[in-house]
């Protein structure tokens, strides 16, 4: 008996194994690779090994020795010849602005110079070399394993003595953006709940034929391409768009007072709400369908008004649906990328758009990875809560 049971277990597990392996290689390993990227930064360490070795012995309080200058000059020359200097300079520049041109100029000067004193030649090319800050930046950029992308992602920095300090308020970018993302997600979740609840209630209490028709109306946008829906919102909300035209025609606004409804936060909110609304309505409906209308009738026959009955009897029973729908919409919205990217303009961007920016434009992949890991942790936490509260097996597609 025990043997047949363990054979059954093995057989069941064996069936899931191919997919587990596939998900492991095509999905989990990439996430792992992102995690590694977020703190492993070998580029500068590999490019300037001897300079960094020499800087490790340096006290950091005064300008380094002539020896260190010579080693740096030699390594810069080599990198310049190998045309590998650009990437190194960019990375050091991220820690101290202006270092890119300092390094590039120095390398250019070193092509012809055959100096007696390396320190004098370098500081003559760029006085920055006479300041410890430049050397500290080189040393920190050379850390093979670093927390600086995380510090950066949380708007923290290290001061010259290595203590972690908060960025000055005007230089904070990521925490405000993170807070904005959370705020926008909460707002969208709330709006979806307000809009979705009455509709789910209507569908749950309609005759089967009517409920089916209404469900189809909810499912059509669910199935329609996200890009199509986003395009539609541009068509509807743009300056010369349908909504503004209607408002002008109705005399609510003047032709010169057209509202800016898209390429800003309004566009992001409206479009994301429409995109995510079905994810609220469907779980709500699934729960409401199982609430018998008898309860409300009983409440009303005992003299309760509709609202009393609703608040005391119906709402508590619908809470599992509220929790499931709200969590799902919230999870989906904090990682949303496509809609804000297309209709958010400059002010309607969320944390995902910042990750995309660092992936595609600033090419600061380490920072993109750190932001990604932080967002992923938030989503995983919410996913765990969802799993506990709702149960992943209860997720339905139609």
């Amino acid at each position: 008996m025990a043997r047949t049971l363990s054979r059954a277990r093995l057989r069941a597990a064996a069936l899931t194994l191919p997919l587990l392996a596939f998900v492991g290689v095509t999905f989990i390993a990439p996430l792992g690779s992102m995690l590694v990227r977020s703190f492993h930064e070998p580029h500068v360490a590999d490019a300037l090994p001897q300079t960094l070795a020499s800087l490790r012995a340096w006290d950091g309080a005064s300008v380094p020795s002539e020896d260190t200058f010579r080693i740096l000059a030699t390594e810069l020359r080599r990198l310049d010849q190998q045309r590998k200097l650009g990437g190194v300079a960019t990375r050091i520049n991220r820690l101290a602005g202006g270092m890119r041109s300092t390094i590039m100029d120095t390398a250019r000067a070193l092509r012809t110079a055959e100096p007696v004193s390396w320190r004098e030649t370098l500081t003559a090319t760029d006085p920055a070399w006479g300041d410890e800050a430049a050397w500290l930046a080189v040393r920190r950029a050379g850390e093979r394993y670093t927390m600086r992308h995380y510090l950066n992602a949380l708007d923290l920095d290290r001061d010259s003595s290595g203590n972690i300090v908060a960025q000055s308020p005007d230089r904070r970018i990521y925490l405000p953006l993170l807070l904005r993302t959370l705020g926008v997600s909460l707002a969208i979740t709330f709006i979806c709940l307000i809009l979705g609840y009455p509709v789910a209630y209507l569908i749950a209490n309609a005759s089967p034929a009517r409920a089916n028709l209404l469900l189809l109306l909810v499912l059509v946008p669910f199935w329609t391409s996200l890009l199509v829906r986003t395009t539609s919102w541009i068509v509807l909300l743009q300056n010369q768009g349908v909504v503004n035209d209607l408002l002008v025609a109705a005399g609510i606004i003047g032709d010169d007072g057209r509202l800016a409804l898209v390429y800003n936060m309004v566009g992001t909110l409206v479009a994301m709400t429409q995109v995510l609304l079905p994810f609220m309505i469907l779980p709500l409906y699934a729960v409401m369908r199982s609430i018998s209308p008898m309860y409300l009738r009983a409440a009303s026959s005992l003299g309760a008004t509709f609202w009393q009955g609703f608040v005391r009897v119906y709402w508590p029973q619908s809470l599992p649906g509220v929790a499931a729908g709200s969590l799902l919409v919230f999870i989906l919205s904090i990682g949303y990328y496509i809609t804000p990217a297309l209709v958010g303009g400059r002010t309607g961007q969320l944390i995902s758009n910042m990750i995309a920016y660092h992936m595609q434009e600033s090419l600061n992949w380490g920072l993109a990875a750190a932001l990604g890991v932080i967002l992923l942790l938030a989503v995983m936490l919410l996913y765990l809560v969802y799993n506990r509260l709702v149960g992943i097996e209860r997720m339905r597609l139609s």
Binding site: P198, S225, V228, V235, G372, V379
Partner: protein, 283 residues
């Protein structure tokens, strides 16, 4: 007393009317964006708005030129072929692996079901930008970035949760005694699967596959990160179009995609109707 009842009924009717009006408005909000795109795609002018001629229903204000442009454009044609090839390949992988896994998960003897399920569903809830960024790092190392294979693998893994969920749903309440009965009558595992389980899960497999295909057919971020010029798909083309030069061609393609969505939805609903009348269910 009579007066009170009348006012109660009036209040009740008012409440219902308000409720219906709110629901009507929300449903219009949900569906209207799709409906606006369709007439505008026949705009004779290169605008994204209704012209006066269109509002007068002037036949000159309407034209098929954007559809013609799309059909004649080699980039859109390549995009369509890519979307279909990638979509079909990803669906095939996702369906095969997803069905096997769902059968394992539905087995009462499956160890660690909760953990395995949430792991297998995770590609669906992970923000797409994170998955795509990670895949960009990892697939570049494997040398499959900028290839069809890379995009296919990404789309396949995004599609598997849909298959797992919809097949698992058809297996809920499945009586495992049927499998034992089949085996005790001398059926091998494959025969038992083909004759007993497959007919039951077939609608779930089909709708899972359609979901997976639809997901791939609409996916743009992984294509942006993993695809090169040769892997441009329809959503990728639309993305560029929306960001750079908005042309009614996009609306023509959008109309096509709305039709496709209706077709897929209709098929899934039809399958669902068939699945709900399934035989062999243990209550």
């Amino acid at each position: 007393m009579r007066h009170a009842t009348a006012s109660f009924e009036l209040g009740e009717r008012l409440r219902r009317a308000v409720h219906l009006a709110v629901c009507g408005a929300v449903l219009v909000f949900l569906v209207a964006p799709m409906l606006v795109v369709i007439p505008l795609s026949f705009n004779a002018e290169p605008y994204f708005t209704f012209t006066e001629g269109m509002l007068r229903l002037d036949s000159d204000a309407y034209s098929m030129r954007w559809y013609r442009n799309v059909v004649e454009d080699s980039e859109w044609r390549l995009a369509l072929v890519n979307s279909i090839v990638i979509g079909l390949a990803a669906t095939a992988i996702a369906t095969t692996l997803g069905v096997l896994a769902a059968l394992g998960l539905a087995n009462p003897a499956m160890p660690g079901r909760g953990f395995v399920t949430s792991l297998l569903i995770s590609p669906m809830v992970t923000p797409i930008i994170i998955s795509a960024a990670g895949m960009f790092f990892f697939y570049s190392k494997l040398g499959i970035a900028q290839t069809h294979l890379g995009v296919i693998l990404a789309h396949a893994v995004f599609g598997t949760p849909f298959v797992v969920i919809s097949v698992t749903a058809t297996l809920v309440g499945f009586d495992h005694n049927l499998v034992r009965a089949g085996a005790s009558l001398g059926g091998g595992p494959f025969l038992v699967f083909r004759r007993i389980q497959l007919p039951l899960i077939a609608p779930g497999v089909m709708s899972g596959a359609l979901f997976a295909f639809a997901a791939s057919f609409d996916e743009v971020v992984a294509v942006l990160f993993l695809g090169g010029l040769q892997q441009r798909t329809i959503p990728r083309q639309m993305w560029t179009g929306i960001r750079e030069e908005i042309s009614p061609e996009i609306l023509a393609v959008a109309t096509f995609l709305v039709m496709l969505a209706l077709l897929l939805l209709g098929t899934v609903e039809w399958l669902r109707g068939r699945a709900s009348a399934k035989p062999g269910e243990a209550d």
